[in-house]
């Protein structure tokens, strides 16, 4: 029997996928919000004058960057509760994984962006009597933030797609929802195509939003 593409299935699938999409968005947004804070903190720690703090950040980044996210997810969801005798919901575990994982990559983005600001800016800030914290806050950080946007956008897109890996710990996100639909109607081609299109729409939206933010920042800095 020849394969027959059923457009109707794709159309019918979309509303059902929205349930999964809700979790995908929730985990991505929550994970990245926390991940950005982690990244900012550890990125700045990497530039600390204190060796202990610097090394702490190095260990964090290397451990996360050096292991697959799938392994991290299974370790946190199945392994850690066993050791600590606690139970974590798949959703909470998912947000933690995305946060910790993106945090490590964002730490590198933050470090790079801060370092790319000309050292003369620090000197100028200090020369008018600002403390090093004030110099970071009012002079370096705003300039670094602008430079972070393109690589951050990249990371946001990666993290969004990475949420699909969380199906292995039973998070009912987008891909998992698709899989459940396929288990019922056996239309793998149409359903996974629909899933892919939803991811694509999401990633393109992120890219678009970041382009707008970037343009707005360029305009405000070039009046």
């Amino acid at each position: 029997m020849a394969f027959e593409f059923q457009t109707q299935v794709v159309i019918e699938t979309f509303p059902m996928l929205m349930r999964g999409l809700k979790y995908t968005v929730y985990i991505t947004a929550g994970g990245l919000a926390i991940g950005f804070v982690l990244g900012a903190v550890f990125g700045l720690l990497k530039l600390s004058k204190t060796a202990v703090l610097r090394n702490l950040a190095v260990v964090y980044v290397e451990c996360i960057r050096g292991t697959p996210m799938l392994v991290q997810a299974m370790f946190l969801y199945y392994g850690v509760p066993m050791a600590l005798g606690i139970r974590i919901s798949p959703l909470t575990a998912g947000i933690i994984i995305i946060a910790v994982n993106s945090g490590a990559y964002i730490a590198e983005i933050v470090r790079g962006a801060v370092q790319s600001v000309d050292s003369g800016q620090v000197e100028a800030g200090r020369s008018i009597g600002l403390t090093s914290t004030q110099t970071m806050r009012y002079i370096i950080w705003p300039q670094a933030l602008k430079r972070m946007i393109p690589p951050l956008g990249n990371q946001f897109i990666i993290s969004l797609k990475d949420t699909s890996l969380l199906m292995v710990i039973g998070v009912g996100e987008l891909l998992r929802t698709g899989q459940e639909i396929v288990a019922v109607n056996f239309r793998a081609f149409e359903v996974y195509l629909a899933v892919a299109l939803v991811y694509l729409a999401m990633t393109m939206s992120i890219a678009k939003i970041l382009r707008i933010v970037e343009n707005r920042m360029n305009i405000s800095a070039a009046k």
Binding site: Q121, I128, L130, Y138, Q143
Partner: protein, 243 residues
């Protein structure tokens, strides 16, 4: 005003400053000249501790900058600095560049800081540029804004680190003019420069630093007309020679 005794500065194993004594009185304009790599900028940067002296004493307005009890951020508001590369804050409009110090460091009310900021911008002839971003200014205008930024803190002395070296030749004059005006008003100034004319006309005293020590120190007339030190004669000869 500024008292430097037996200043030494090492970068790794390289000794850049090898024992400098320099005393600058209130209202004095001192120009420091010398070949590149001679340590002249380093001396200047040790005055407000942008460089940490390796040894020696630096006393600014009665405060020993090496004393851990001295609030170096306070000293820096009392001693303004102007850099070769301007180092304006590119993410802030001109007026905010100038008012940042008064607001964040001096704790001034915004309205008061804006008043002072505008006053200083007017002084350097850039009142109408207050809303512009630094990227939209010429080099000469940037440096004048940098001078206004330092003056907005109402410092007792100003340090200039080759303020015209990064400028196109036709823009040098406007910056030197602002500096001359400042000198005429009685500002204490230490200027590292290659502008021999400026040194000759504006300075009370000219200092020649080479190989990490002061080789010659004199009033401008004697300094330029009868240089005693052979290195200085050689240096001045080279400066003239390319004409």
């Amino acid at each position: 005003m500024i008292e430097i005794q037996n200043l030494h500065k090492q970068f790794g194993s390289l000794e850049v400053i090898k024992g400098i004594d320099l005393s600058i009185q209130r209202g004095e304009v001192v120009c420091i000249i010398g070949p590149s790599g001679s340590g002249k900028s380093t001396v200047l940067r040790c005055i407000n501790k942008l460089e940490e002296p390796s040894s020696g004493t630096v006393i600014v307005d009665g405060f020993d900058i090496m004393d851990p009890k001295t609030d170096i951020n306070y000293i820096r508001t009392e001693v303004g600095m102007v850099f070769q590369q301007f180092n304006l804050f590119p993410h802030l409009p001109v007026l905010d560049n100038v008012t940042l110090g008064p607001i964040k460091v001096r704790g001034m009310k915004r309205a008061e800081a804006v008043r002072i900021g505008r006053e200083q911008l007017a002084k350097v002839g850039l009142a109408e540029k207050e809303a512009n971003y630094p990227d939209h200014l010429s080099g000469g205008q940037k440096q004048r804004v940098a001078i206004a930024r330092a003056l907005a803190l109402q410092p007792k002395a100003m340090l200039f680190d080759e303020p015209t070296s990064a400028l196109d030749p036709e823009l040098v004059g406007e910056v030197l003019l602002v500096m001359k005006k400042l000198a005429d008003e009685g500002m204490t100034m230490v200027v590292v420069t290659h502008e021999m004319n400026f040194a000759q006309k504006v300075a009370n005293r000219v200092i020649f630093i080479d190989q990490g020590v002061i080789q010659e120190e004199n009033a401008p007339a004697a300094f330029f007309q009868n240089p005693e030190n052979p290195r200085l004669r050689d240096f001045l000869g080279k400066v003239e020679a390319h004409i």
